[in-house]
């Protein structure tokens, strides 16, 4: 290494560390400056500071942060001290800052330590680990420098269309990122046809995760055809328009969209989501030939057992498969997963290696300490990633049972004896899932919906019209709905057209956060908050203070 090289590297690391500390002291977490400074001194500083680190990279529309949190929690519990970019700094500058700040002045990674009693792959294992959450659009910049051992793609949905354009553009961006990381083992969602297409024409080994038809069958749901009920009301020709406006919005639409978990008996096969799949789909037509997919079953949104009748492109039987859902409640879920023996998975990854005969699939009970169906997917992704990284499965199973929510995702606070749960929602798929979760709970609660349209959120908030807030109708347990944020007026309007009574909705003006907090603290029943990104930040700060938790930046 030349003198110029080492000087550049030292300057990059030092400037990054120094600016980060300064910003933290000024209470300015989460800016891109430290990473940009480091890259200014040395463009490829990420490649240098991540060399030899076993990195699992997680990307995809929904579930990045939670899946990464599951992985890092498991690694931490096992003493692997992984490097993580947990603050949501998931662009190139953020990832760079995380690695540069953790390196010594010669650019060598410092964090992590050898685990002497871990026998697995002792010769190849550097003992340094990282779990990186990466933005879908940034993957192509991050992957070639970081050279991750494993790339997890959770799912792809429409998300912030004004920033990324269409979901197809996002898919192509991810595909390019993977093309630049031909060595990485891919962990792909087998149920997502868009994600599955990433395996086409690439040399990378793939480990698939997904949900089996048998798991869907364990969840029963009742769907009432409400369109008929609507028409009946419509025929009443009496009264003024205003009276009818009230009357129609008061009509109890029944238990539409409700689902509950059945443990035993076999029942009719229904999707987990209350919507027929044709309502919203980001992937209706075969990505290879344009023919409409046939689905054997749906889990939610466009996920499920897809198959193209024309060219045969179809779901792969997953290596990590959720085979049954035994229970979901506010504290988490219990499921069974069929995990292909680590050895048999790795025979494909490293075919030249000698493998033992003990390679049969095993059916494992898995306890996930986070509720909702989408976290079952995240857990399956995490297990697949652990397996792909050739780490002991037992670690991730234990990790999943003890994982905490992260940064607004299913985060739980207790304030003055009242439970407050925060579920970050940024797009229709995520929001529908969160609403399904709420509707499945029987207990009375207050619902808070928050919406901003700042840069980090996306300026286009039209996606709220793709969310099925209709399922909140007739949910007697949801006593009151508060709306807040720069676009609270839009939320309020959306709820009106979803058929909710106007008097059940209370709008809190954007500048009156204090009033919103008071209403939350005064609630006699549990509160569920569904914010988008920038509405989550001030709320979360306030709730943490009220609940007496540490500040987010631990320094």
């Amino acid at each position: 290494m030349s003198g110029k090289d080492s000087l550049q590297i030292a300057m990059a690391v030092a400037s990054c560390r120094f600016s980060r500390q300064l910003l933290h002291r000024l209470n300015r977490g989460g800016t891109s400056l430290p990473g940009k400074l480091a890259m200014w001194f040395r463009r490829d500083i990420l490649a240098i500071t991540s060399e030899g680190v076993e990195t699992i990279l997680v990307t995809g529309t929904n579930g990045k942060t939670t899946t990464a949190a599951m992985l890092s929690h498991a690694m931490e519990e096992a003493g692997r001290a992984p490097l993580c970019n947990r603050s949501g700094a998931n662009l190139l500058s953020g990832v760079t800052a995380e690695f540069a700040a953790a390196a010594d002045l010669r650019g060598r990674p410092l964090q992590g330590r050898k685990i002497p009693d871990q026998p697995a792959d002792a010769d190849r294992d550097s003992g340094l680990y990282a779990v990186v959450e990466c933005d879908e659009g940034a993957l192509r910049h991050v992957a070639p420098l970081l050279k991750p051992r494993v790339i997890v793609v959770t799912n792809l949905f429409r998300d912030q269309l004004d920033r990324y354009g269409e979901v197809m553009h996002t898919l192509e961006a991810v595909r390019e990122g993977i093309r630049l990381a031909p060595e990485a083992v891919l962990c792909l969602n087998a149920d997502d046809s868009l994600v599955a297409s990433l395996a086409l024409d690439v040399p990378n080994p793939v480990i698939w995760f997904g949900m089996e038809e048998t798991a869907v069958k364990t969840v029963v749901q009742e769907i009432q055809d409400t369109s008929n009920a609507d028409k009946k009301v419509l025929r009443e020709e009496s009264g003024t328009a205003q009276e009818r406006q009230d009357a129609v919005n008061t009509v109890d639409k029944g238990d539409r969209g409700r689902f509950f978990v059945s443990t035993g008996e076999e029942t009719k096969n229904r999707p987990l989501s209350p919507d027929p799949p044709e309502k919203i789909s980001d992937a209706r037509y075969c990505i290879r030939c344009g023919t409409e997919y046939i689905y054997r079953y749906h889990t939610y949104a466009h996920l499920g057992g897809f198959c193209c009748p024309s060219c045969g492109f179809s779901r792969t039987v997953p290596d990590v498969a959720v085979s049954s859902i035994d229970g979901i409640d506010i504290g988490g879920s219990r499921v069974h997963m069929r995990v292909r023996g680590r050895e048999s998975v790795h025979r494909e990854i490293v075919p030249q290696e000698r493998v033992s005969e003990e390679s049969v699939s095993q059916e494992l009970p898995v306890r996930i300490a986070l509720p909702a169906v989408y976290n079952i997917y995240n857990a399956a992704a995490a297990i697949a990633a652990y397996s792909a990284a050739r780490l002991p499965i037992q670690e991730i199973l234990e990790g999943l049972a003890g994982v905490h929510s992260s940064f607004g995702r299913m985060e739980h606070f207790v304030i003055g004896g009242v439970s407050v749960q925060m579920i970050l929602v940024k797009n229709p798929a995520g929001c529908n899932q969160a609403l399904d979760y709420l509707c499945a709970l029987e207990e009375p609660c207050t619902l808070v919906l928050c919406l901003n349209d700042l840069d980090a959120d996306g300026h286009d908030i039209s996606w709220i019209w793709d969310v099925d807030y209709e399922k909140l109708c007739g949910r007697g347990n949801i006593r009151r709905i508060l709306v807040w944020g720069k676009r609270a007026e839009d939320l309020q309007l959306r709820l009106k057209y979803a058929g909710l009574q106007e008097k059940r909705i209370r709008r809190v003006p954007e500048r009156e956060l204090k009033k919103l907090l008071e209403a939350i603290y005064k609630s006699q029943v549990p509160v569920f908050i569904l914010p988008n990104y920038t509405t989550m930040l001030p709320l979360r700060d306030a709730l943490r203070r009220a609940a007496g938790k540490d500040s987010f930046w631990k320094g």
């Binding site: 269409e166 419509l234 205003q242 039209s462």
Partner: protein, 242 residues
């Protein structure tokens, strides 16, 4: 009284919450005690398009739009054209709007033939025109101010015989150059506005309903609704846009 609405290609053209327009029409009819039936006519559906009072076509992804071109131009095209000339009401948004014109020419010069039901064409551009925007409707369409969200790279140029739907107050509109937005031809209302456009612009929603009812039943006057939420959302976005 009853309006029969045809939602064309809901399976393909369903981006940006455009289905909110259908919901808005349904509710505003329902609140007035006017019947409403919505049929969803998908790609490849052989059903006839006659007998509908109002047609809705939304926007979609480029990939999906390619999928439906053949169905649109060779199968449904003639019926759509006939319904349009017959004075049926149309609401066409973004990609659905572009398809009513002669063609779309990509920035690379590749030409994609469309329906040609209305005299205009669209040319692809490099820079996407994205953001909240506002325009004033022409007198023939009620004259009110509309706010919406535009997100398109195509630049649309109107033929000499057709009028724009409105005049841009803030934002890009048809092409970012001539201040025109959308097209109004017979009873077709075509616009780039997502948002979705109708819920926050109740005056436009009612103009559409009135236009369709008038064609079907002759004279028509709509009972006013209490549009507090609608107007508040409209005014809030207008204030931050203009």
């Amino acid at each position: 009284m009853e309006l029969k609405i045809c939602h064309l290609y809901p399976d393909v053209l369903n981006l940006y919450g455009d289905r909110g327009n259908i919901l808005c029409l349904q509710k505003r009819l329902e609140w007035r005690g006017i019947g409403c039936r919505v049929d969803y006519v998908k790609l490849g559906d052989p059903n006839s398009l006659t007998g509908y009072d109002l047609f809705f076509i939304g926007g979609g992804q480029d990939f999906d739009q390619e999928v439906l071109l053949e169905d649109l131009c060779t199968k449904k095209g003639p019926e759509i054209g006939a319904a349009l000339e017959d004075g049926r009401t149309f609401l066409c948004i973004c990609g659905g709007y572009q398809m009513m014109g002669h063609y779309y020419e990509t920035a690379e010069g590749e030409k994609c033939e469309f329906l040609g039901a209305i005299d205009f064409y669209t040319v692809g551009g490099k820079k996407r025109m994205i953001g909240n925007y506002a325009f004033r409707l022409g007198e023939e369409s009620g004259g009110s101010t509309v706010i919406g969200f535009e997100n398109h790279s195509g630049r649309t140029w109107l033929g000499s015989g057709v009028h724009p739907l409105g005049k841009v107050l803030k934002g890009y509109g048809n092409n970012g150059m001539d201040k025109t937005e959308g097209v109004r031809y017979r009873n077709a209302f075509c616009t780039y506005s997502h948002g979705p456009v109708l819920p926050k612009n109740p005056a436009l929603a009612d103009t559409l309903i009135e236009t369709a009812l008038r064609r079907k039943y002759g004279a028509c006057s709509l009972e006013p609704l209490q549009d507090n939420f609608e107007n508040l959302a409209h005014d809030t976005v207008l204030k931050k846009t203009v």
